[in-house]
């Protein structure tokens, strides 16, 4: 900071960001945030200019998820602020810690329908964990510290701070010399594990059901040692992938709508479900009253509101997983069940033999997963390609697997990968995208070009909004409605226009060499993988069905 200038609200913002260790932020300027962008010039924080505020918010999400740090994004008032909303909603739904800064019209103009005035504070209520509007310069510093603390405490989430232009300009003095933080407001009761211990010792067919909360709680070691010592058969949610050791013989993969047959059958048959940082989401449970119908439930969570929300817990354990999970760790006598599980797993193993010369997307993604370097971070968009990636790729850590889980937001993959790559410059970052999804934030190719971000984009191109087409075929009598994308742009030419090396493949025989070329390339790369438009994702639990009623073909 240039100390000869008096400190302003805008300058104070960057001082506080620096105090919280923020090195990188994502944003887009405009009228009502100009004083903040002016202060940016004197700050040590590095700003990445995205090409749409939604891109900035998703890059902040990707940054946070890949690195475990808070993601920061900023935008101007009005349209800039509303463009952030999808990213905030996504972060809220997936519990991702973000701080979003918006410029606002001057306090005197607020409430007058001023140019580019929108009530982003009001709009934020449903899509943030908490939000602030600073109307007194003397509150700014404290509010910013609170925003960081709230984003991180308990169940993490996005916090928005709306700062009117006059507050950004106002002179101020910095009071706190170091980052202050809040104490966790929620006093968590000491976990009562007696009931849980009793349930676990008497269970004949217990299953460990792991969700995204494990990664968020940084409790991967605890969960793995729990799984190993108990020998519990285990399943994962979409967001939990990477938390468990995927090479374990008792691990059955993802459960739910597109889960593995073995995972869904095992959960359906179990007599005890140990839910760890998971919330019985409808995509996991299928028909709720038929989900694990014979099971008692032990539910570990940090959020009291998740306990008994969708499924009554026989033994709720509220609090920090890192502390509570070891209390339940013991060895179990469940050999018969383990044998049954391992047989089921072998019977339901994925098959990659596929007739014809055309490319089979699951086989491509399996091969990418086998060939990608250690610590590769994979992001996805939303659709069939996302489900194939979840089914056929393996991850060693949840921070290596970034997908929009709860919101299922198309357009997530590319900007999230940009954020991930900036937070982890030495790791490979791969986006698995679809021909529909990539167009939702395609402008971020310009961000890749500007900052020379070496992400690898695998575009699974079926010339369709494939997932919706699949549902139209299966559940709407094949009445196709607005899901054809056969007039897509030339994706190789498009990438080339942004100086991104690109290649299209159409035949099975080309796959291995193309993956290697992409992974070996130093800079950004787009690999367009043409696949048959009629391919479906299997298995599939149809809507309103129990998880043991999976369809395995049309």
């Amino acid at each position: 900071m240039n100390d000869s200038k008096p400190l302003t609200g805008g300058g104070l913002l960057f001082k506080v960001l620096e105090q919280h260790g923020v090195e990188h932020i994502f944003g887009y300027p405009g009228g009502a945030i100009m004083p903040i962008y002016d202060a940016l010039v004197d700050s040590n924080v590095q700003h990445f200019l995205c090409r749409h505020e939604q891109g900035a918010s998703f890059s902040a999400v990707g940054y946070a998820r890949a690195s475990g740090k808070i993601g920061v994004c900023m935008a101007t008032s009005g349209p800039g602020a509303t463009n952030l909303i999808t990213g905030l909603a996504d972060a809220l739904a997936d519990s991702i810690p973000l701080v979003a800064i918006t410029g606002q019209v001057p306090t005197a103009a607020m409430g007058s329908d001023a140019f580019q005035e929108t009530d982003i504070f009001g709009l934020s209520l449903a899509c943030t964990k908490h939000s602030f509007q600073v109307t007194d310069i003397n509150d700014l510093e404290k509010v910013l510290h609170q925003a960081f603390a709230i984003a991180l405490e308990g169940r993490q989430g996005p916090v928005l701070v709306d700062i009117p232009k006059d507050i950004q300009i106002a002179a101020v003095e910095q009071k706190f010399t170091k980052a202050s933080s809040l104490k966790n407001k929620v006093k968590l009761p000491l976990a009562d594990i007696t009931k849980a211990l009793d349930l676990l010792t008497h269970a004949k067919r217990p299953i460990l059901y792991v969700g995204g909360g494990v990664g968020m709680a940084n409790a991967i070691d605890e969960v793995r040692s729990f799984a190993e010592t108990t020998g519990l058969p285990s399943v994962s949610t979409l967001k939990g992938l990477g938390a468990l050791n995927h090479t374990s013989e008792n691990y059955l993969g993802m459960l739910g709508m597109h889960g593995t047959k073995a995972a869904n059958l095992a959960v359906h048959d179990c007599d005890l479900l140990i839910a760890v940082g998971a919330r019985f989401d409808d995509r996991v449970t299928g028909k709720l009253d038929q989900f694990a119908p014979d099971a008692k439930v032990i539910h570990f969570d940090i959020d009291a509101a998740e306990i008994n929300k969708r499924r009554i817990a026989d033994a709720p354990i509220l609090g920090d997983l890192k502390e509570n999970l070891p209390l339940l760790t013991m060895s179990l006598n469940i050999e018969d069940w383990q044998t049954q599980i391992q047989e089921m797993k072998a019977d339901c193993a994925w098959r990659y033999d596929h007739p014809g010369d055309g490319i089979f997307a699951p086989a491509v993604l399996k091969e990418v997963s086998d060939l990608m370097p250690e610590n590769t971070c994979v992001t996805t968009d939303v659709g069939q390609h996302q489900m194939w990636a979840a089914q056929h790729m393996s991850f060693d850590d949840p921070s290596d697997w970034l997908t929009s889980g709860s919101m299922g937001t198309m357009g997530f993959g590319l900007p999230a990968a940009i954020g991930a790559q900036i937070s982890r410059p030495h790791d490979t970052v791969i986006v698995v995208s679809g021909d529909g999804s990539i167009m939702m934030n395609v402008q971020e190719l310009a961000t890749i070009k500007r900052y020379q971000i070496p992400v690898k984009i695998i575009l699974i191109d079926n010339a369709k909004l494939g997932m919706v087409r699949q549902w139209q075929d299966l559940f709407f009598d094949g009445r196709l409605s607005e899901t054809d994308l056969s007039d897509n742009p030339d994706f190789v030419m498009l990438a080339t226009a942004f100086d991104i090396k690109a290649k299209q493949i159409t035949q099975k025989g080309e796959v291995t060499a193309a993956i290697k070329e992409m992974l070996d390339h130093d800079g950004a790369y787009l690999l367009q993988v043409k696949i048959d438009a009629q391919e479906n994702v299997w298995p599939l639990v149809p809507p309103n069905s129990a998880n043991n009623e999976m369809m395995e073909s049309a």
């Binding site: 908490h130 009291a304 509101a305």
Partner: protein, 85 residues
Amino acid sequence: MNNYKLIIMTDDKQVVLERILQVTRYRGFLINGMTAQVNTGNNIATIELLVSSDRPISLLIDQINKLVDIKSVEVDNSASQLCSA
């Protein structure tokens, strides 16, 4: 439909009332009445909320409790009536 009376103590902060109303509506509770008062001495607001729903009141209590400025949420059992309508 069951009727409940909630007594909510909260810091008197920006839009806390809007937050409570938004959560109440979103979580599936109808608002039948409300009073709100601020103790200017300690800046604590007391909000009494009459709500009705088929859903268990614990679902709403847990969600309101998650709002950052909330101090406590209690059901006034004497004023709540559980009836099937």
